[in-house]
């Protein structure tokens, strides 16, 4: 069982001054498993996700990827950004607002990591980029600059960019929240295809139907803690905690 664990998050706490936005969050992710973090805004789910690769360093707690301590030295000292770089390279991240690099064309956005971080030749990195752009159905946009793409296309490029890292783990931070409604589907479809390949993922999402379909397990967060967790369908169909019930019914009200 321990061999099968990819990511462990233990007693993660994050405070801004006296305000604790994450309190003792713990969970583990098996290799090939997909966990969705859901919850109202301000529940700490994005902070939790961003703590995993130390973009928002946690105040305390422990993160291990493949058994290796992330973000901290054995002594507890936090690693510098330069020391963190090789660990972050193993974790792909997709942001809500894409954050593609506007001065590079689409292919260069995807090829940058393999070329500059993993030392791949320009030709090999370009080939990898083309292969991944085909996977997200954007081969025809390889030469475009990000500014000329729709939000959905930009997010798919961002997914290709994360895949170019050959990451052990993929993090998605509300990947469809910044998109026009008609563009959400194309991004979710790409993520579903990745899920079908058995990739390990942690997703923060507001798309409950999507979470049900893609995630193996769901963690419902509120007030910086995990209030309820369980297999996706079970948790959504038979919520136990009143807070989760309230959250789910408020979502369905909005839909109606």
């Amino acid at each position: 069982m321990p061999d099968n664990t990819l990511l462990t998050v233990q007693k993660l706490t994050k405070c801004y001054g006296k305000l604790a936005v994450l309190k003792d969050v713990s969970f583990a992710l098996r290799r090939g498993e997909r966990i969705a973090l859901i919850g109202p805004s301000g529940s700490g789910k994005s902070t939790c996700l961003r703590a995993i690769n130390f973009l928002d360093p946690p105040t305390s707690g422990e993160i291990r990827l493949d058994g290796q301590l992330v973000g901290r030295h054995q002594s507890g000292r936090q690693l510098t950004d330069a020391e963190l770089a090789p660990q972050r390279a193993e974790i792909g991240m997709v942001f809500q607002h894409f954050h593609l690099w506007p001065h590079l064309d689409v292919r260069a956005n995807v090829a940058l990591q393999p070329k500059k971080v993993r030392g791949m030749s320009a030709a090999a990195a370009g080939e990898l980029a083309d292969e991944l752009l085909a996977k997200v159905h954007l081969s025809h946009k390889a030469q475009e600059f990000p500014g000329r793409l729709s939000g959905g296309q930009q997010q798919r490029v961002a997914i290709a960019r994360a895949l170019a890292q050959r990451p052990k783990l993929l993090l998605f931070d509300e990947p469809t929240s910044a998109l026009d409604p008609e563009l959400v589907g194309e991004v979710l479809n790409v993520i579903k295809e990745l899920a079908a390949e058995g990739r390990s993922m942690v997703l923060v999402t507001h798309e409950i139907a999507f979470a049900r379909e893609v995630a193996d397990r769901i963690l419902f967060m509120d007030g910086g803690t995990v209030v309820e967790e369980g297999p996706a369908r079970e948790l959504l169909d038979r919520p136990k905690e009143p807070r989760l019930r309230r959250f789910l019914s408020s979502l369905s009200e909005n839909r109606a």
Binding site: L84, A85, R88, A89, G92, H99, W101, H103, V117
Partner: protein, 215 residues
């Protein structure tokens, strides 16, 4: 105005223009180097002493009048035994002052690059120096171009100050030729037109660069 007089004015101003261009290019090059290096250091370092040292340099040079600083370099240093040629003093003086201005222009450019850009760079595993070179620098330089263009225009005009330390640029030669010919209005009018032509060229160069670097 006879043809001979016209020719004298023309030659004096033309040779002055060459010096003005030389001082402008020299000072601009030096200012760009100082500005870029110091802004990069200040952007990347966490060392307080380094930051404070750069701030002191910037504040000192930005808050002393250019003419005062040029006099200090040319006459002041000479008085202590270090004699700079008027051209050297002009280029170094304007270059050091420009460097102080450009530190803040470049720094503002780097800081205007949205935070998500460096987060994405960090997330793929780029070390800070690489992230700066590949993601922040190219975008920050693009953002710095408009104020940089303004600075360059100002610099071309400010080269007229170095007439006061006997660098034979446009205004120095203009005054000389006025003293010899008393064609005051003609000479200064021609000098003004010459500056207009120079600043027009500089302005167009920056406009072109901005268009070329658009994305």
């Amino acid at each position: 105005m006879n043809a001979l007089l016209f020719e004298r004015i023309f030659h004096a101003l033309l040779s002055g223009a060459v010096v003005t261009v030389e001082v402008s290019i020299g000072a601009l090059t030096m200012a760009l180097l100082i500005g870029l290096v110091l802004a990069t250091i200040e952007h990347l370092t966490v060392n307080r002493i380094v930051v404070v040292s750069i701030r002191i340099y910037v504040e000192l040079l930005r808050n002393v009048p250019s003419l005062t600083f040029l006099f200090l370099l040319y006459f002041g240093l000479a008085a202590t035994g270090v004699r700079l040629s008027s051209m050297t003093a002009a280029v170094v003086g304007l270059g050091m002052i420009g460097g102080a201005v450009l530190v803040d222009i470049f720094l503002a450019g780097f800081r205007s690059v949205p935070k998500g850009q460096s987060e994405a760079a960090a997330a793929i595993g780029l070390a800070p120096l690489m992230a700066f070179r590949l993601v922040i620098l190219p975008q920050g330089l693009r953002l710095s171009l408009p104020p940089l263009g303004n600075y360059a225009l100002g610099l071309v005009k400010d080269t007229s100050l170095v007439a006061a330390i006997a660098a034979p640029e446009v205004m120095f030669n203009a005054r000389q030729i006025v003293n010899e010919t008393f064609a005051t209005a003609w000479v200064y009018c021609a000098a003004a037109l010459l500056y207009l032509a120079l600043t027009f060229v500089v302005g167009q160069m920056f406009a072109l660069a901005e268009r070329r670097l658009e994305y």
